[in-house]
Symmetry: C2
Subunit: 263 residues, 2 copies
DNA sequence: GATTTGTGTTCAAGGTGATGAACGTCAAAC
DNA sequence: GTTTGACGTTCATCACCTTGAACACAAATC
């Protein structure tokens, strides 16, 4: 009876406690507050007794931190280590740094980002902050829905319509009043992006901010993109044109420094 | 026969595969290059066959990334998630942000850091970069030996000499020609720090840079500290005095905003 | 061409972690 | 004062992960 779908599992079965260890870390990372063992056990559908041992292991290694009461669990300092190391060791991140410096300087210190597509989200991997008072909140490792950002849309445009339809959950979650939520609208937008060669996010992600992005051909399919984020009140046609030129030149410089030719 | 030392283990035994999962992540984070399964197995003293399952699990969840050849393993994008989340959810980090902004502005955009002591290292948790061209290389999550930094020394000074002696490995590893490596020298330095109330790092960590730090009494014993890092050629007595005043005021502001009174 | 050394992968057998029920504890609700 | 529900903890039983050896393969070396 219970053996019916054994064939499906046959392809690959994860090591249970290793898998759960990662589940716990991901759950603690996605939640915004500390949680109890029992709460975590309910959320992850893991028996309390099993979770107990795993949590103790995580705490002992400093990956999970316990409240002074010993009842609430959150991420520990060790969790920071891997993230920092990932950023430092990534090839694309390393090679893009000087170009980001150049883009930041040439643009008069507008906010520049390097982002990577991870399933339905875009993750910031590197940035140069704006010198202007109005600081866009963004941090390395932060993730935003791909459909609501210029970075995300320019990367989604490298996929086929079928892939995009299968990947995203419809209707899309809105971040602002202008976020594209419909399937037809997004596919039309992606078609435009493919034609233009760049993506534009017009207050779809944060009010008052417009972003411009181009995809980097450093992998196939393309996973990385660079963008500028500029407050609308400061934008005019000349600045917009200049921004797109800078992005195109930035892309050229990054790809020129790339060891293995793609496309 | 095999039961002889059962009593010792009784205190606590980690879940083996959970523990190993974390070991793998830590090893991948500390190494600077990608490694093979066999190499990792040797380093961590884990049988290849056991590691095989764990690595597959890590790869499937996106915590570990495989080379296009399928032979070299490195950290995956998922590793970035927990680090970013840790920083965003930490109470001290959240409360310190406005004070860092203030310190950065008041100082004319010198480099400011918030650091936390983790065993023998100091980890950067937040920063404001210098506006000056000479950019100190530093990133959130980066760790530096405590004995070679102002942040570290001011935190070590909150421990007793006995604790410090037991904690660090003597002789200390030098980072520059001026790094304190001897036990007597460091203890004398820490005594001076206790008397002054602040720590100074005079090119002990990077050539040409002097740092100033004060400890924050947000936990007991104190784990967090804030610092300024300033190129020596730009420093004079007036700036040094001003910097120490700013740190003292920053410390006061942070502690004033703290919910639970300490000390 | 044979050998060595590197890689990842598989498998049966034995050791060990997962499990759910029962427990101890505490604080809040009745 | 009792009850209820929340919490973490423990334990014997069984499922399953761990293990070493053997395998398949590639690349460098003899």
């Amino acid at each position: 009876m219970a053996d019916v779908d054994r064939a499906d599992e046959g392809l690959y079965s994860p090591v249970k406690s290793a898998d759960r260890t990662l589940q716990v870390l991901e759950a603690l990372a996605s939640g915004d507050r500390r949680v109890s063992l029992a709460e975590l056990a309910r959320d992850l559908q893991i028996p309390k007794s099993s979770l107990h041992g795993i949590l103790k292991t995580l705490v002992q290694r400093g990956w999970v931190d316990v409240d002074e009461t010993g009842l609430r669990f959150g991420l520990g300092l060790r969790a920071l280590l891997v993230g920092a190391s990932f950023v430092e060791s990534d090839d694309v991140v390393a090679r893009v740094q000087p170009v980001l410096d150049w883009l930041s300087a040439e643009s008069g210190r507008e906010a520049v980002h390097l982002g990577r597509l991870d399933a339905t989200d875009v993750i910031y991997l590197a940035k140069r902050e704006s010198a202007h008072a109005l600081r866009l909140f963004s941090a390395i490792g932060r993730r935003l829905p791909a459909h609501a950002t210029a970075l995300g849309k320019v990367l989604l445009a490298r996929r086929t319509d079928e892939e995009v339809c299968a990947l995203l959950e419809w209707p899309l979650a809105p971040l602002t009043a202008r976020t594209i939520v419909g399937r037809e609208e997004l596919l039309a937008e992606l078609a435009l992006v493919r034609q233009q060669g760049y993506a534009l996010d017009n207050e779809e992600n944060a009010d008052g901010i417009r972003c411009f992005a181009v995809a980097l051909d450093t992998a196939s399919p393309s996973l990385d993109a660079i963008s500028f984020s500029i407050p609308i009140f400061r934008l005019d046609d000349a600045l917009q044109t200049r921004t797109l030129e800078l992005l195109a030149e930035g892309k050229r410089r990054i790809e020129a420094s790339w060891p293995t030719r793609l496309r």
